[in-house]
């Protein structure tokens, strides 16, 4: 049996602890505490109503008040309500049982009032079918791959493909094929079914077929489906506009911009433009392209030459014969960029790889079996850089090596400015 002094001590102890933790509470936790206090206050109101009930007149039989008090505080002799609440689940059970007592008493006093009757079931709403396009959620965007700048064609990598060597390869192994892939179709259906069942719409059905969702449910269910799909789309909304440039800068200018190189301010951008106008900075290339969030995109500029890179022996017949192997040798500029957006922090992770190559004027030639193999030489530079850049700001990510450019030195830098634009995912 609780006494008032014990409850007061407990309350004071709890108040001390609660006060120390109050500042550390999350808003939802604070709201939960306030809701608990309101629930306790409502239980005290019931107590007050019980105290008033039956006073000033003969106590009704059976003694509803006594039984109600006993239920609420589990002490039939208690004169006042306790200060510290029982656990909510205990109080809820007590209140429900007291409610039953009240209803039974009302049913005896007012038989015509239908106090214990079950309410009529509401009419079942009509289910309708909708077909919704969801390919933007379930079909990832393909990565684009740049041809490999260099003599990879001579190593059997093929001039038209991405080549091996990891130079321009962004293979991801995070458990999915590409960061641009979003949701599996089955997962979308599963999420919707769960939400519909949670809302009591057990008879709702949702199926996926060829980029479309077929949903049959009541109007309330359709509203849930719309809400969930909008919520899913919001996670990856927008396209990434990329302003990609290649600069040749004096090292002194880079040192000036260095503190903000991975997120140029307006002053930094102006300084870069001024250097361009003055001629100290040279813009070697500039391109604008648009990518989906997580999609790899490519800028490619230069020449591709078909060359006889090898001969192969065909021995399918009795007599071996030689066949020429012609492949494409790629020179020029290739820039691959993959942006991954963090909308919560306003950042874009930019993963960039740059290749710049130039074939020599003359290629060595050798004759084999009546064919002339071409053996060229190519000067090239390659680099990779990754950094997180604020949305809407340009960054000097990294670049190639420039040699013998005078006492002060120069650098070649890739500049990328990502912006999120609204529209289709």
């Amino acid at each position: 049996m609780r006494t008032r002094s014990t409850c007061l001590a407990l309350l004071l102890t709890c108040a001390g602890v609660a006060g120390a933790q109050e500042d550390e509470l999350l808003p939802a936790e604070r709201a939960q505490r306030e809701a608990a206090a309101r629930a306790f206050a409502s239980a005290r109101e019931v107590w007050g109503a019980l105290e008033a009930y039956g006073r000033g007149g003969p106590a009704p039989e059976p003694d509803l008040r006594a039984r109600g008090v006993a239920r609420l505080v589990q002490d039939p002799d208690a004169e006042e309500p306790v200060d510290a609440p029982d656990p909510p689940e205990v109080v809820a059970d007590q209140l429900a049982a007291l409610r039953g007592d009240v209803l039974r008493r009302l049913a005896r006093l007012d038989p015509a009032g239908r106090w214990l009757a079950e309410p009529d079931a509401p009419p079942r709403p009509e289910r309708t079918l909708r077909i919704l396009a969801v390919h933007d959620l379930v079909q990832g965007e393909s990565d684009h791959e740049a041809p490999s700048v260099g003599l990879g064609a001579y190593e059997g990598q093929g001039g038209g493909g991405g080549g091996g060597g990891g130079v321009l390869t962004f293979c991801d192994d995070g458990g999915y094929g590409s960061p641009s892939e979003f949701l599996d179709a089955e997962k979308v259906v599963e999420v919707l079914q769960t939400e519909l069942e949670a809302a009591g719409l057990d008879e709702a059905t949702a199926e996926y077929s060829a980029g479309r969702l077929l949903v049959r449910t009541a109007p309330a269910g359709h509203a849930i489906v719309d809400r969930v799909l909008a919520q899913l789309r919001k996670v990856r909304a927008g396209l990434v506009d990329l302003d990609v440039r290649l600069y040749r800068l004096p090292v002194a200018l880079y040192n000036e911009l260095r503190p903000e190189a991975l997120g140029l301010s307006a002053e930094g951008e102006a300084r870069l433009l001024r250097a361009e106008r003055e001629g100290s900075a040279q813009r070697l290339a500039a391109h604008r392209l648009v990518a989906h969030d997580g999609q790899r995109v490519v800028v490619r500029r230069g020449q591709t030459r078909a060359m006889v890179v090898d001969v192969e022996v065909n021995q399918t017949g009795v007599v071996p014969v030689l066949n020429p192997v012609v492949n494409a040798v790629v020179e020029g500029l290739a820039v691959q960029v993959r942006p991954v957006v963090d909308r919560a922090r306003g950042l874009v992770l930019l993963d960039a790889a740059v290749s710049l190559g130039k074939l020599g004027e003359r290629a060595d030639k050798r004759a084999f079996g009546g064919y002339e193999l071409e053996l060229p030489e190519m000067a090239l530079g390659r680099s990779t850089s990754t950094a997180a850049v604020p949305l809407g700001r340009g960054a000097l990510l990294g670049g190639g090596l420039v040699t013998d450019s005078g006492p002060a030195g120069q650098v070649v830098m890739v500049y990328v400015r990502p912006q999120l634009v609204q529209g289709k995912r």
Binding site: R38, T169, G175, L380, S383, T403
Partner: protein, 361 residues
Amino acid sequence: MRTHAPLLVILLALAPQAAAQAGPPSPKAAEVEELKALLGKLDAAIAKHAALLDPAVTLEVTDVRGLLAAHPPDRAAPRMSVDSAAAGFQTARGGGGSFCFDGDEEPDGTVLDPDKLQELLVHAVGEERWEAPCSIEVHRGSLIVRQTAVGHERLRRALAALQADTWTAVQLEVGFWSLSADLREGLRRAALESDGVLPAASLAALDAAAGKGARQLGATVVSALDGQRVYLHQGAERAYIAEVSQSSGGGTGKDEWVAVADPIVRVLRSGVTVDARPTLVRDGEREVVHLDVRFARCRVTGGSQKPTPWGPIDCPQVETDTVRTSARVQAGGGMLVYAAEGGADVGDDVTIVVRPRIVRR
């Protein structure tokens, strides 16, 4: 005809009843009203307790790719060497440095995997808070959670704490210098005194000496995320005939036996590669960059053509320098990666300094 008198009698007879009805309600009716008021309070209290015991569970979807793929895969510099199995080198595609430094010693660049992230978040919210209908799943870089308002807030707090250090980048400024003997010796001494690290004062002296005893041969900048491997290659590629193999065949009877030569073409890479992995570590109170750097330089110094019955093959001659080194560099410092004195060729004289700079988000 009735007179008003009977009507008056009726009215007078009804008067006591009317008086009785206008008086206080019967005890029974009063109790019903009291109980209805009590019922209203009971319903309100029960509703408040129900909201406490059965809080609303809502769906939230969050993008967590930044945690799962905190950095893209490592990329290694291309090999520069004359490939030959007989010489002990293996023909490789895009492998590591010239002398196969790569092996099992490389860190695998593991970041948070989906299962681990899910486990961390379950603990952050509270293991007791995940009974149905609450649920959590990491699906293709998206976190799909059904939780109460309190659960969602705890998740957001945990995610913010996890994301605080992701996408921290290190910019590596690589300078190639030709230095006077005094300057070079000064840098070496400074590096020896502090485990290969150049203090800020030494770097400032180097910058000040530009044009006066120090000539910058070249410079480059690469950016990497914490723990990521990035590279730079500058040089040339040349295709050459490394070998010739013969294939032959013929028919029966009077057909001649025919031999054909199949040339084996290889690509010789030369130039300079710088391959680096910066990792942020705590050294007491301060944060430093652990730099693991590989430098390789390959120059074609000559070569010859050897005649074969099927045509000449190329035998290039190269000179290579390779260095793999590591150091812990504090803020403002640098790392002396390589220093070679010149020979007859001015290109022999090169000092390479790497300066890391941490960029936090």
